[in-house]
């Protein structure tokens, strides 16, 4: 199984995407560290890092802003630097509102709206949208060579990348018209489907006693005047992630049979929204198996030798299972995309040096090839 190493060239943004539980945050941090070691100025934004990874990066649970990561003890070119942060969606949204609200009254109206207060749990995609928002903020810093963005786990890539559009849909004045203003209020006649949608909402309100329509409408109209700013930023985020000279899309997965179909569906959903996978990273692969024949030469008690044989057979079976998954994953991305296998560390990354070891695999300095199975 030939690896095709990750070549970043002078790209400015790496988006790490994937389903949950594959070590996406670890890979994001390692990619960022690797580039910083190579002499670039790098920012990494993580979404939900495990406590040990936070330690490794020198972050705390509420590091909502960028902080410098000490590269002492890691071999690096002197010019490189690494900054890391953990995304706080609510704080990002609050500051966004404060920035775009035309007046203090408008700002307070939004912050006190019961929808807004329930938004973090209630409106899917806010966390995703805020990640995009923070990304644009980081991009504005000309001193930064590269931004690595970890993303929330998603069943479908759309959840994350479509977030700006989804939130905008709610804020869109056409939606406002739909949700309560009189027809023709915005100088456009509503289509039959719009009327039906409105009927659905009205029925829902009647059925439920929720009286949400009024709330949604006041929420949407308090965004009046801010819509332009939001729409413009969403447009920029949309364009940025699709600019292949600037952005590399990295899909992270694991070499498990369960993940194969999941990953295929994920890549399909990326393609469907016009995003090409630049690299597929398979995390936590088993190391290469030793030769079973070596056991015969060992001068040890026969009982122990029997157990060693049994142990070898057990792990060899797992290795076979994994190699099949690896081949299937390898076939999913075109030759133009990188394919990297990162061997399992055997522990959770807890130190910067652990991340550096993963970074070396990612850049092909220490090929994960040998760990990935049979050569082809």
């Amino acid at each position: 199984m030939k690896a095709r190493p990750l070549v970043l060239a002078d790209r400015r943004l790496i988006l790490c995407l994937g389903t949950g539980g594959v070590g996406k945050t670890t890979i994001s941090a390692a990619l960022a560290l690797g580039e910083a070691m190579g002499g670039r100025a790098v920012d990494v934004m993580t979404v939900d890092p495990a406590p040990r990874l936070l330690d490794a990066l020198g972050l705390t649970v509420d590091s909502g802003e960028l902080s410098d990561v000490e590269l002492d003890g890691i071999p690096h070119s002197g010019r490189g630097r690494l900054r890391a942060m953990k995304l706080d969606p609510k704080a990002t949204f609050d500051s966004l509102i404060a920035r775009y609200a035309p007046s203090e009254t408008a700002r307070d109206a939004i912050l006190e709206n019961r929808l807004y207060q329930n938004l973090s749990q209630a409106l899917a995609g806010v966390g995703d949208y805020m990640a995009m928002e923070k990304l644009l903020e980081l991009c504005a810093d000309a001193e930064t060579d590269l931004i690595v963005l970890d993303t929330p786990p998603a069943r479908e890539a759309l959840d994350f990348l479509d977030a700006p559009r989804r939130v905008l849909d709610l804020l869109n004045s056409r939606a406002a018209a739909l949700l309560g203003a009189s027809t023709g209020f915005f100088g456009q006649s509503l289509k039959l489907v719009d009327l039906a949608a409105r009927a659905v909402l009205a029925a829902f309100d009647r059925l439920t006693g929720l009286h949400l329509l009024a709330d949604v409408q006041s929420f949407v109209s308090s965004f009046d005047g801010m819509y332009g700013g939001f729409a413009e930023r969403a447009e920029r985020a949309h364009a940025l992630v699709r600019d292949r000279s600037e952005t590399l899309i990295v899909v992270v997965t694991a070499a498990e049979a369960q993940r194969v179909e999941e990953t295929r569906a994920f890549i399909d959903s990326l393609n469907a929204i016009g995003l090409k996978v630049g690299a597929l990273v398979v995390n936590r692969a088993m190391p290469e198996m030793p030769q079973a024949a070596d056991l015969a030469k060992l001068k040890i008690p026969s009982e122990l030798k029997r157990k060693l044989r049994r142990n070898w057979r057990d792990f060899a079976a797992l290795k076979t299972r994994q190699t099949e998954s690896l081949s299937a994953l390898r076939a999913m991305v075109p030759d133009s995309a990188a394919f990297v296998v990162v061997p399992d560390l055997g522990r959770e990354p807890a130190r910067l040096s652990d991340l550096a070891a993963i970074a070396r695999c990612l850049s092909g300095i220490e090929s994960g090839d040998s760990a990935a199975g049979r050569p082809d």
Binding site: K191, G209, D314, E348
Partner: protein, 292 residues
């Protein structure tokens, strides 16, 4: 205490939710009819058991296990169809962007309808003396989903939705009707997430935790002395160390889970080249005695 009618399986990504759901369904089906359902229309658990997908959301593994493919989206669609009975219009709506506005405008609506469906299905299970096994989403999404009832109740202080959300909350808090099984692998990250999920369910939400299902418990093979000898054996020694470490991780996970009062069910690590029907049946036999 008897099992709840509905067992909702969740856990960190990659910790074997679908495998556990499939094995649990097989084990339960030896005594009662079982409905095995997922919430993402992938039917991963049913496919492991060899069930064909027929695209309509219904099929059977055998005469004891019925498969249902549910999704919050589908619940919303059927809700829309009841409100807009004109097929031509409801179809166009479902295909339009307008529909996106509707879903964005009513927070948690899909999830709420999904929970309502589960409540109805649990009622049917009680009537038929059957069990319902749900191959649920990963813990973060699961907690979000299960919190929707209370969340919508707060949004609507009066009216029918408020009554419905109270009913949903009662359903989720009823140990005879609803319970959660949390899957985990012995690794630290999975253990931590399982502990967090368990405490959120118990303390914050008052939801019954049926069990923690500890997947991938490797049978110990080497004693300490053998481990020491093997340490000098290079590559094979590394495999021995890995085997010993797997055992130690499982032991630690077992201790931590038990100390919080969770009922821990261990499933063996399957050192097999693939995981199919035969392996699921093996796991179901490991599960069965723990369900009494």
């Amino acid at each position: 205490m008897a099992l709840p009618r509905l067992i909702f399986i969740t856990g960190k990504g990659g910790t074997g939710k679908s495998i556990a759901a499939a094995a649990l369904a097989v084990a339960l089906a030896r005594r009662n009819p079982v409905v095995l359902a997922d919430l993402d229309r992938r039917s991963s658990a049913a496919r492991m058991l060899g069930a064909d997908q027929n695209g309509r959301g219904f099929c059977r593994v055998n005469e004891r296990i019925e498969v249902r493919a549910l999704s919050p989206r589908a619940e919303l669609e059927s809700f829309i169809e009841t409100i807009v009975p004109l097929k031509a219009i409801s179809r166009r709506m479902l295909g339009s962007r307008t529909f996106g506005y509707v879903t964005a405008a009513v927070p948690g609506l899909e999830a709420f309808l999904m929970l309502e469906r589960l409540r109805i299905m649990a009622g049917e299970a009680a009537r038929d003396d059957s069990y319902l096994v749900i191959d649920g989403p990963a813990s973060g999404s699961a907690i979000e989903l299960l919190s929707v009832a209370a969340g919508l109740g707060r949004l609507a202080p009066r009216g029918r939705l408020n009554r419905l959300s109270l009913e949903l909350e009662r359903f989720l808090a009823d140990p005879n009707r609803f319970g959660v099984a949390i899957t985990l692998s012995p690794e630290e990250a999975a253990l931590r997430e399982a502990m967090e999920t368990a405490s959120a369910l118990d303390e914050r939400m008052g939801i019954r935790r049926v069990a923690a299902i500890l997947n991938g418990v490797a049978r110990p093979l080497f004693n300490r002395a053998e481990g020491k000898i093997a340490a000098a054996m290079g590559e094979h020694g590394r495999l021995v160390a890995r085997r010993i470490e797997l055992g130690a991780l499982a032991e630690r996970a077992r201790r931590r889970l038990t100390s919080t009062g969770l009922n821990v069910i261990e499933l063996p690590m399957l050192f097999t080249e693939s995981i199919g029907k035969a392996e699921i049946f093996e796991l179901s036999r490991a599960l069965e005695p723990r369900l009494a």
